[in-house]
């Protein structure tokens, strides 16, 4: 509908609804037959036309506030359909027959309306087929009834008056309609149990009111078809229930006021500047949605992240809704929430406005964490790249130069066996071989410095034996690790022990040292403790810093205690899940 025409059209529709109700009420009041048929004409006419007016007006209000939902329009339609059925109280033959023909329509419209709550759309083909068949039944059954008569003198469609057939067709029609209403009520009750959160009392109250209304219609029809004792009282109660439904609905719409107070509470909470981690709790409380999740938008990365800076995907599955939050024209975050909240855009808007700064702060926090995460990742990659480079060098040395030198030494040795006599030549060959042996020893040390091949080949426990044996002081070695660990972890652990023992030997003047390696659950814990002078300067050498890099690149932690005169203790904890 065009925006400028909308208010006018709404006013016209509202006036039409009210006028219809007034017209119908006046007709009923003036119709002498109404009194004998319905008991107290005033009460029933009043209630019935109250339905017309209240559904039209409430429907228009809902339509205006929630143009995206078809529920308001549907309500208006229910109001007008109800109006047509009240025409059966007029004395004009045409309007009377029209009203009678549509007499069974209002219950089906209520059924349709209640089942279509809150979107105004029926969910699924089964429900749609059910409602369509109810409409068809209402029209067909009444069309069958009218020719048999029993409606008084104004029935234009009375062709074959037959008292017995009229009674049977009335009973069939009323019982069929009540069966539809009961099925509808059961559907609503199932829906109430199945999908809704207890946190939205207004919503549940509405469903209860709708289900009750349908049950009341069913009761009324059953009672009327068998001429039960309290038809009149049941009718009043039914109309009152149906009439109350739009009031409850209106109250739910006006829940905005409650939402405002929730937003007010939120603003007070945010004034205390909660930690970003607590922001979600505050927002969840204000929105009454404990399932609320926050995703922060990082434009530089082009992803949403959680508070830890870890990327998250926005859900596109049913059962979750997403509200995007902008601030000063920049997208900053997304709320992932229960779709029931879509019916409360005011609440969402209020929360969005109140939490803008807090969300922006939390976003910056998340961005910082994401950058740290990235940095950590790149540090791990650098350490890993350096490691594999060195591993490759060691391997090349092992397979190349070292093998060749050994083969050369072997050749010289065999050559010596074939040289007869000349002791000078033999001595020369021996000298060359000694040189080769020295080169090999040097190369061996270089290779070991490049990469501890024994660690990758045979594991940490085997490699540490050599470190303990080579240390220039007694080392008490205690390794409690079963099996192999990931290679980068073993290599890092090896370097921690190796470097620490070197430091002990160089600086500590310790008498002995202890190396303990334990795997506790999902962590490898290494400790190198000495009884030396302590006071190690971790900044002076790059050794400790390099170790910390290695350990931290694996998400681990390296700590050094080195009190003056109290020995030094290096402890590394590396996760090994």
């Amino acid at each position: 509908m065009h925006t400028t025409l909308r208010p006018l059209a709404f006013c016209a529709l509202g006036l039409a609804g009210c006028a219809g109700a007034v017209y119908s009420f006046t007709s009923a009041f003036r119709n002498p037959a109404v009194g004998s048929d319905l008991g107290e004409p005033l009460v029933i006419a009043l209630l019935s036309n109250w339905l017309t007016a209240s559904y039209v007006l409430c429907g228009l209000f809902a339509w205006w506030r929630r143009p995206e939902s078809r529920f308001g329009a549907l309500m208006v339609a229910v109001g007008f359909a109800n109006f047509i059925s009240t025409l059966s109280w007029t004395t004009n033959d045409f309007t009377f027959t029209l009203g009678q023909a549509f007499d069974l329509l209002p219950p089906v419209l209520f059924l349709h309306l209640f089942l279509a709550f809150p979107t105004g759309r029926l969910s699924g083909p089964v429900e749609r087929a059910f409602v369509v068949s109810a409409y068809a039944a209402a029209v067909v059954l009444q069309a069958v009834r009218l020719p048999f008569g029993g409606f008084g003198p104004n029935n234009l469609l009375e062709f074959a008056a037959h008292e017995g057939a009229a009674l049977i067709s009335l009973r069939v029609a009323l019982l069929t309609m009540s069966a539809y209403c009961l099925v509808g009520a059961a559907t609503l009750l199932l829906r109430r149990r199945g999908t809704l959160r207890p946190l939205r009392p207004m919503f549940v109250l509405l469903l209860d009111a709708f289900a009750l209304g349908l049950v009341m219609i069913a009761c009324l029809f059953v009672s009327a078809s068998f001429g039960g004792p309290a038809v009149q009282e049941i009718r009043w109660a039914t109309f009152a229930t149906l009439g109350a439904a739009p009031i409850v609905f209106l109250a739910a719409l006006l829940n905005v006021r409650l939402a405002r107070s929730a937003v007010g509470d939120l603003m007070l909470e945010l004034r205390a500047e909660p930690a970003p981690a607590d922001l979600r709790e505050s927002l969840a409380r204000a929105l009454r949605d404990p399932s609320l999740e926050l995703a922060y938008w990082l434009p530089d990365f082009g992803v949403y992240v959680d508070l830890e800076g870890k990327p998250v995907e926005l859900p596109d599955l049913q059962g979750r809704s997403t509200t995007l939050i902008d601030r000063h024209g920049d997208h900053i975050a997304a709320l992932i929430h229960d779709p029931a909240l879509d019916d409360e855009p005011e609440l969402l808007e209020g929360v969005e406005a109140a939490a803008g700064i807090a969300l922006e702060n939390a976003r910056l926090d998340a961005e910082l964490r994401a950058r740290l995460e990235e940095l950590r990742g790149s540090r791990a990659r650098i350490v890993e790249a350096a490691q594999s480079e060195r591993q490759l060098l060691e391997r090349n040395l092992h397979d190349g130069a070292q093998q060749r030198l050994i083969a050369l030494s072997l050749q010289l040795s065999m050559l010596k066996g074939r040289v007869d006599g000349d002791p000078d030549v033999k001595e020369g060959i021996d000298q060359a071989r000694r040189e080769i042996a020295a080169s090999l020893a040097e190369l061996r040390e270089i290779a070991r410095g490049l990469h501890p091949a024994v660690v990758s080949g045979h594991g940490l426990a085997v490699a540490l034996e050599q470190l303990a044996a080579r240390a220039p002081l007694p080392v008490d070695l205690d390794v409690e690790v079963d099996g192999r660990l990931p290679e980068p972890l073993e290599v890092a652990a090896y370097y921690v022990v190796s470097e620490s023992l070197t430091n002990v030997a160089k600086h500590s003047q310790a008498k002995k040292a202890r190396v303990a390696v334990v795997r506790t659950g999902d962590e490898l814990v290494l400790e190198v403790v000495d009884d030396g002078v302590g006071g190690a300067d971790s900044e002076r050498g790059s050794g400790l810093r390099g170790l910390a890099d290695r350990v931290e690149a694996l998400d681990g932690r390296l700590r050094v205690w080195t009190p003056l005169g109290g020995g030094t203790r290096v402890k590394a904890e590396i996760p090994c899940a």
Binding site: H398, A441, V454
Partner: protein
Amino acid sequence: MRVAMAEDSVLLREGIARVLDDAGFDVVAQCDNADDLLLRVRSSPPDVVILDIRLPPTHSDEGLRAALELRSSHPDVGVLVLSQYVEVGLAMKLLADSAEGVGYLLKDRIGDVEDFVASVRRVADGGSALDPIIVSTLLARQRPDDPIAALTPREREVLELMATGSSNQGIADSMVITLRAVEKYVSSIFSKLGLPSTGTESRRVLAVLLYLRS
């Protein structure tokens, strides 16, 4: 004497084969990986197997695993492991149960043809050959109240040779002393270290090794 060997460097494999051939060994298998070696040994067990600790495909612990497997499946076949690094931890793994018919030498030792051939022969005969670097590392190892320090230089020399697997005759030859003198040194060493004297020469290798390591 029949020898089977696994070494992935062609240069070294052929060099070793020639040296052993010249020394009168019958080289029955030259393999470049551990699986082939195991197959050849199973079909026709030699007297001794020589293998590199680092073999294809991953060049990590294939050689060692093959050696340990042969030690348990073919206890009569001597196993001599060669490596470009000798590590106390690996020596302890290889000699875990006994030092009989087992050797662990630095690859460089091949160059000393005479010594190398002697080592191969010793291992084939059920003796042992442990690289001097391992022994010297263990001897140099610092320990509180070190009884090693109570040994005389000659005794220390005898201990080193003993630990590498040399027989009493071998020690006598290399130190140019009498067999009788060697026996005296040996019993003096055992009493100074508080070790019970053991029967065979390879058993005392393990005893000394365990002592030095503890």
